[in-house]
Symmetry: C2
Subunit: 340 residues, 2 copies
C-alpha cells in the first residue's frame, strides 16, 4: 500500500513548489520543457491522478448524478438505469444509485442524504407510497436548494421539473384498439398498478378505446387490485368464467399470470384468448407462446432523462423552462395475439 501520488508528494520529490507541478502537469507554457518533461514522466510512472474529491470541493460540483429507483429488480427500471449509465459515462458523469423500495420514507431519506454536495442532480422515479400519499414536499425542497431533478415514468404533476414519460394513455389506447381490430369482442383489463400514475393513464386509454369503438365497458371484465394475493383470486375466477376473448394486462404480473392460468385451464392462446401485456421484452419472447407486449423503450427513457439533467447542469440559464419529453411506445406483436 504505497502512498498515492499527489501534487504535494511530487513537488517534494523534485524540491519544487506545488504550483510548479500543477502547471507542469497541465502543460502550461509558463514552465520550461525540461521541467515539464521530467515531472510528467514521473507522474505517469507513479500513475498520478488528481484527487477528484479535492477538485470537486474547489469546483463546487461533483459530476455525479443521483438516480433514485423504486425497485432495481424490476427489469424496466434496470433498463432505464442502463440508459442513464450509458449517457452519464459518455458525458463524464458518475452515477450514484439509491433504491427507495417503493417507500416514501426511504426515498426522502436517501435523497436527503445525497443532497449535501455528493451529487449535482437527481433522476427519480417516484416511489409507489409517495405517489399514493401525494407527498411531494421533499422534491420541492431539493429543487429549491438548487439541485435539479428529472423525473421519469412516475412523475408528480405539481412539481415543476423536467420529466420523461411514456405515452401511457396512447399506448394503452393503441393496444386495446389493436385487440379490437383482431376481432375481440370482450376485452378484459387487468392491473395491479392502479395506484400509480402510469397505471391510471393506461386504464383511461383502455376505456377510451372501447368507447371510441362503441363498445361497452364491462365492469365484470376489469380486475384492479393492488394486493397480489387478492388479484390472483379474482383473476382465477375471471379466467375460469371464460367471459372474455382477449386480455389487456397493465403490468408484468398480471400479464404472465394470465398466461399461466389460461394455459393451465387448457385455454388456447391465441386461438381462444388474445393477450397483450406490459412486460419485459426478453422474457416475453421466452414464454410459450411468446407474449405480445407494449415496448416502452426503457433505455431511451433513461438516456433522455440523463441528457436533460446534464444539459441543465451545464447551462447557466436561470430562466430555463422545464420540459416534459414523451417517449413513444411500440406494440410488439408476438405469438399471444392473432386474428380471432
Amino acid at each position: 500500500m504505497k502512498a498515492k501520488a499527489t501534487l504535494k508528494q511530487i513537488a517534494l520529490e523534485f524540491g519544487v513548489s506545488i504550483s510548479t507541478v500543477s502547471k507542469a502537469l497541465s502543460d502550461s507554457p509558463e514552465i520550461s520543457e525540461a521541467t515539464k518533461i521530467k515531472i510528467q514522466e514521473y507522474a505517469a510512472l507513479k500513475n498520478y491522478k488528481p484527487n477528484s474529491i479535492a477538485k470537486n470541493l474547489k469546483n463546487q460540483r461533483t459530476n455525479t448524478i443521483g438516480v433514485i429507483i423504486p425497485n432495481i429488480l424490476n427489469p424496466f427500471f434496470a433498463k432505464v438505469f442502463s440508459g442513464i449509465e450509458k449517457i452519464a459515462l459518455e458525458k463524464g458523469y458518475n452515477v450514484i444509485t439509491g433504491i427507495s423500495n417503493e417507500s416514501f420514507n426511504k426515498e426522502q431519506q436517501v435523497m436527503d442524504m445525497l443532497n449535501n454536495g455528493t451529487i449535482d442532480g437527481f433522476i427519480v422515479a417516484i416511489a409507489e407510497e409517495t405517489q399514493s400519499l401525494k407527498e411531494y414536499k421533499h422534491f420541492k425542497d431539493i429543487i429549491n436548494s438548487g439541485t435539479p431533478i428529472v423525473m421519469f415514468d412516475r412523475v408528480a404533476d405539481g412539481i415543476n421539473c423536467d420529466k420523461v414519460v411514456v405515452d401511457d394513455f396512447d399506448s394503452a389506447y393503441d393496444a386495446t384498439t389493436h385487440l379490437i381490430k383482431l376481432g375481440s369482442k370482450k376485452i378484459a383489463l387487468l392491473s395491479t398498478v392502479n395506484n400509480l400514475s402510469v397505471g391510471k393513464l393506461r386504464f383511461e386509454g383502455y376505456k377510451k378505446a372501447l368507447t371510441d369503438a362503441k363498445m361497452s365497458i364491462d365492469e365484470g371484465l376489469i380486475v384492479l387490485e393492488t394486493a397480489i394475493e387478492d388479484f390472483d383470486v379474482k383473476l382465477q375466477t375471471l379466467i375460469s368464467s371464460k367471459k372474455m376473448d382477449a386480455v389487456f394486462a397493465l403490468d408484468e404480473h398480471s400479464s404472465t399470470m394470465t398466461m399461466r392460468m389460461a394455459l393451465k385451464q387448457g385455454i388456447k392462446i391465441p386461438q381462444e384468448l388474445n393477450i397483450i401485456g406490459f412486460a419485459d421484452g426478453v422474457w416475453s419472447r421466452r414464454l410459450t407462446p411468446s407474449l405480445s407486449t407494449v415496448s416502452q423503450h426503457a433505455p431511451e427513457i433513461g438516456a433522455k432523462a440523463a441528457e436533460l439533467l446534464i444539459h441543465k447542469l451545464n447551462s447557466k440559464d436561470e430562466f430555463y423552462q422545464p420540459q416534459t419529453v414523451v417517449i413513444k411506445t411500440e406494440l410488439r406483436k408476438r405469438e399471444s395475439t392473432r386474428r380471432l
Copy 2:
C-alpha cells in the same frame, strides 16, 4: 436558489469563528451552552448539512463503494446489487455503479476513473472479456494503490482479495444427481457460459455427477457454444433428435430456449423431458410449466460482499487475510422436473 448554509456563513452571521460553529454543532463541551444553543437553532432553521465533499477530503474517505457489474440487465446481477445496496445503506455507505458491459476496456476505464478518491473500495464481478483474456493487472494495481476489492461470482484465481462465490461445482453436481435420481438416463448439458469461471465449474460438476453414478459422458448430449445463434442451431438439432430425457442448462438463455423449443416440438415437460436450469426465480415461476432452477441466493451474495468490504474498510488490520466465502445454492423443484 438561496445560498447553502456553511460553517463560514453561520460564523459570519454570528460574528464568531468557523471553529466555534463547528464545535457548537458537534456539541463540544468547549463551547458555552448559550452559544451552542443559538448556533444549533440557527443551523436547524437553515437546514444546515455538512458538505460531505469537504468532510471526505478531510477524512480521506468517502463512505462510498464502487460496484462494477458486467450487465445490469441480467437479473442475477440486479439482485446481487440490491443486496449490496441494502447493506451499504445500513452501514451508511453510498453506492456508485459502473457497468462494464462485459468489456475489458470499459471495466478498466470505469474502475480507473473511480479510483481517484471517489470510492473507498470496489465490489466487482469480472467482465466476460476480462475473464477470457485472463487480464488481471488492473485489479492488482488498484489493490496495490490501497483500494480494497471484493470479487463475487466471477472471480480471478490469481488475485489475493476477498471473494464471494456460489458453490457452482457442488450445485451442478447436486442438480445433475437429482436428475439421475428422478430416473434420467440421458442428461443433456447446455451452456452458453463456458467461457466464464462459473460456467466451467458447473460443467465439471455435471461430469463428476455422471461419473460418480457410473454413467458415461455423451459428447452428443453436450452443447457448449458462446455465440447465441450457433447455440440455438445446435440446440434445435439436439432437441429434434430427442436423444435425451433430461436437460441441465447452465444459464438463463439455454434453460428457457430448451423449454421453448421442446414445447414447440410437442415434447411434454416434464413427462418426456426433465429440465433444471440456472435462471431467475421470479420468471421461472411464471413459465408454464414452471422451471426448476438452481437458486443462487443472489441478494445474500451481494450482502456478504458488502459486509466483507465494509469490514475491511473499517479495520486497520495490516495483515488481514482475504477470505473466500461460499454461498450455498438451493435446488428449487418446480413443474419442469418429476420422476420419469
